[in-house]
């Protein structure tokens, strides 16, 4: 049982003109087994939240706290956060030429678990997870994300989520760019992880179609760097019909 607590989080991004405030007081609590969906217009700061939680050096936390089971996440380095149980499936996974998927998965698994996985069972586990996600076994020998299609990159992210077994997973637009079949395959992967490991999920998305496969317990509307409204799954349906106009207007005066 894990809890990720985000309190009054303010984050700025490093730009050529100096730091630019993006997140303006985010409050959110995610517990094991829960699924939270975050929806919001382009540029509202969803990826910024994800990157800041993972510890990307470009994003500076100017105030607020983030704890995982009481531990100060903001004091941890990027790799320490991952080893503590945070996982970020990135909106734009990075290519790492010359590093094979097999080597990468084994190295990361070893780092996260603090010991090398058992050779025999690990091989089997990877193979099964890949086949469940319809990833051809030839990908093992390819360089991480290099030349992968958009959909292949996303499946490779979920493959890692299944293998690394994090406490809390943040999925940044994992559904974007997927065709209907891939969306189903990827959603099944997330649901398997939820079932097998009771992972808490923060799902960032623009579309309700993924929410038909992955049922959210909570839906948060993200506007202008903070959560503007919260509700249950029905909120997602309403957003799809009505858009964000209603929030965009009212959020403006709050700008710092």
């Amino acid at each position: 049982m894990s809890t990720l607590e985000i309190r009054d989080l303010h984050v700025s991004v490093e730009t050529k003109e100096g730091p630019k405030p993006i997140l303006r007081g985010v409050d959110l609590t995610i517990e094991s087994g829960q699924t939270h969906a975050i929806m919001g217009p382009n540029g509202s700061g969803k990826s910024t939240l994800a990157s800041a939680l993972a510890g990307h050096p470009k994003y500076q936390v100017t105030s607020g706290t983030v704890t995982l089971d009481g531990e100060d996440v903001l004091a941890m380095t990027v790799d320490e956060r991952a080893r503590a149980g945070l996982f970020l499936a990135m909106q734009y996974p990075v290519e790492v030429p010359g590093v094979s998927v097999a080597n990468f998965l084994r190295t990361a698994k070893t780092a996260i678990d603090g010991e090398a996985p058992k050779l025999r069972t690990w091989g089997r586990e990877v193979k099964d997870a890949m086949s469940n996600l319809r990833i051809d076994s030839a990908f093992s020998e390819r360089s991480v994300n290099e030349g992968f299609s958009g959909g292949e990159k996303k499946r490779h992210e979920i493959l890692q989520m299944e293998l690394f077994k994090p406490q809390i997973a943040i999925l940044d637009e994992t559904d974007s760019g997927l065709d209907v079949d891939a969306l189903r395959v990827v959603s099944e992967g997330v649901n398997r992880a939820k079932e097998n490991t009771d992972v808490g999920v923060l799902l960032i998305t623009h579309y309700t179609r993924i929410l038909r496969y992955i049922k959210p317990d909570f839906v948060h509307v993200f506007v202008d760097g903070r959560i503007a409204e919260e509700g249950g799954p029905e909120l997602a349906e309403r957003l799809e019909d009505e858009g964000y106009d209603k929030y965009v207007g009212t959020a403006a005066p709050a700008a710092v």
Binding site: G55, V78, D79, A82, V94, E95, V96, V99, A111, F164
Partner: protein, 421 residues
């Protein structure tokens, strides 16, 4: 139709992945074809450092090797030991400078080239007899002894693969020396030769070397240069095709630390039709004052129709204060070619890659190791000589050990990955 072209492009400190391919363009100027080559000291004077071929070099540090009266490496008092360990099929001789087989693969094209040629008294000749297939690697070692470290000397090696012979020859350099060297490579019709030169010098070594290769009909040469050690290393490999069907693959790998100068200047001369050349050099740099230079000249002469050539240089700058110069030059004098291209890229260590790996729990030093190993991985596989590949991987690991002490304490730049301009 024949068109004369000059496609000299200065890619010094090029932007990452500025890969492109050249077609046929305008008029030559400063063509490589017009570069003076000669065996005579009088023809090629001591450089000032402003000449095209010396403009990146620390000429003051190379000065002792510009002198016409160098001793012979391997001779008593030279401070350099030469050891040859040959495969059973391979013949090794020490011959005088008047041996008729010497000086047949091109002529010196710069001052150190011409001083090396004029200085040596004995040469080492390695011969792979016609149709022989060497069952083992042949090794030629140069070991510089501390006592003679500052004594400049000259060495001459000739590697000959006769008709349809096959062999691998590895030339090693270790210890400290001030050495000016010529490596002549003669690949006869149908022969397949691999020559590997490893510069694994200790600190303080200054080494210049002219490699001059000549390929016969359907001859294949794999030429590998690996540079890790020494204060100043400057290697100038030239390859010349003399008959159709020749193929040369030139592979280079270098890793420069603080205050090291590592320079590789290649010239591939497509003088005859239907030959193929591939050049792939990759280097990593770390520490302040680390400087690497790669110049790749390819000349496709008017008669060389059906030429197929591609050259690539990539540099990975691991820390601030290091500088990589990269200059591919492609001159095409005929329109009837199969392919000609080059790519040159110099990139900073990619912080986004680092973030991705660390976000998967991998500690920073391990993540950096993975990326650097990945950078060199494909190239190492291309070498195709197992013992050399293993040593190389070990050397890269050793370099990375050093680099971790440099990197620890260097904050990740907040602005993310920016490419050297």
């Amino acid at each position: 139709m024949t068109t004369t072209t000059d496609l000299t492009t200065d890619h010094s400190r090029a932007v990452a992945d500025g890969a492109h391919t050249h077609g046929v363009g305008a008029k030559p100027q400063g063509s490589r074809a017009e570069r003076l080559t000669s065996f005579s000291l009088d023809d090629i004077p001591v450089p000032t450092g402003r000449e095209e071929e010396w403009r990146f070099s620390p000429v003051a540090r190379i000065q002792p090797l510009f002198d016409g009266g160098l001793g012979t490496a391997g001779a008593d008092g030279s401070g350099v030991r030469v050891t040859v360990d040959a495969a059973p099929e391979v013949k090794v001789e020490t011959v005088g400078r008047d041996d008729a087989r010497l000086g047949r693969a091109g002529k010196p094209g710069d001052r150190t080239g011409v001083t090396a040629w004029n200085a040596f008294q004995q040469a080492t000749v390695v011969t792979v007899p016609a149709e022989a297939v060497a069952s083992d690697v042949t090794s030629v070692r140069f070991d510089g002894e501390q006592a003679g470290a500052a004594t400049p000397s000259a060495a001459h090696v000739l590697v000959r693969a006769e008709r349809h012979a096959e062999a691998v020859v590895v030339i090693d350099h270790a210890g400290v020396a001030t050495l000016n060297q010529t490596v002549e490579i003669d690949v006869a019709d149908g022969a397949q030769l691999t020559v590997v030169s490893v510069q694994d010098w200790a600190d303080g070594a200054v080494h210049t070397s002219s490699h001059r290769a000549r390929l016969g009909r359907d001859a294949k040469l794999k030429h590998v240069v690996v540079t890790f050690g020494g204060d100043v290393v400057r290697i100038t490999p030239d390859a010349e095709f003399t008959a159709e069907g020749g193929e040369v693959e030139m592979v280079g790998l270098y890793f420069a630390d603080a205050d090291q100068h590592q320079e590789h200047r290649l010239f591939v001369d497509h003088a005859v039709p239907r030959c193929k050349s591939r050049v792939t050099y990759k280097g990593a740099l770390q520490g302040s004052g680390a400087h690497t230079v790669w110049v790749g000249d390819v000349l496709i002469q008017a008669d060389a129709e059906g030429t197929d050539t591609y050259e690539l240089n990539r540099n990975l700058v691991l820390t601030d204060g290091a500088r990589a110069d990269s200059v591919p030059n492609l001159e095409i004098e005929t329109g009837e070619i199969d392919g000609a291209g080059h790519a040159s890229a110099t990139g900073r260590f990619d912080d986004e890659q680092l973030f991705y790996l660390m976000a998967r729990g991998i500690p920073e030093t391990d993540a950096r190791r993975l990326v650097v190993r990945g950078f060199f991985a494909e190239l190492i596989q291309e070498i195709g000589v197992e013992s050399v590949e293993e040593r190389l991987i070990a050397s890269i690991e050793a370099e990375l050990e050093k680099s971790m002490s440099v990197i620890t304490g260097v904050a990740t730049p907040a602005g993310g990955a920016d490419e050297a301009e």
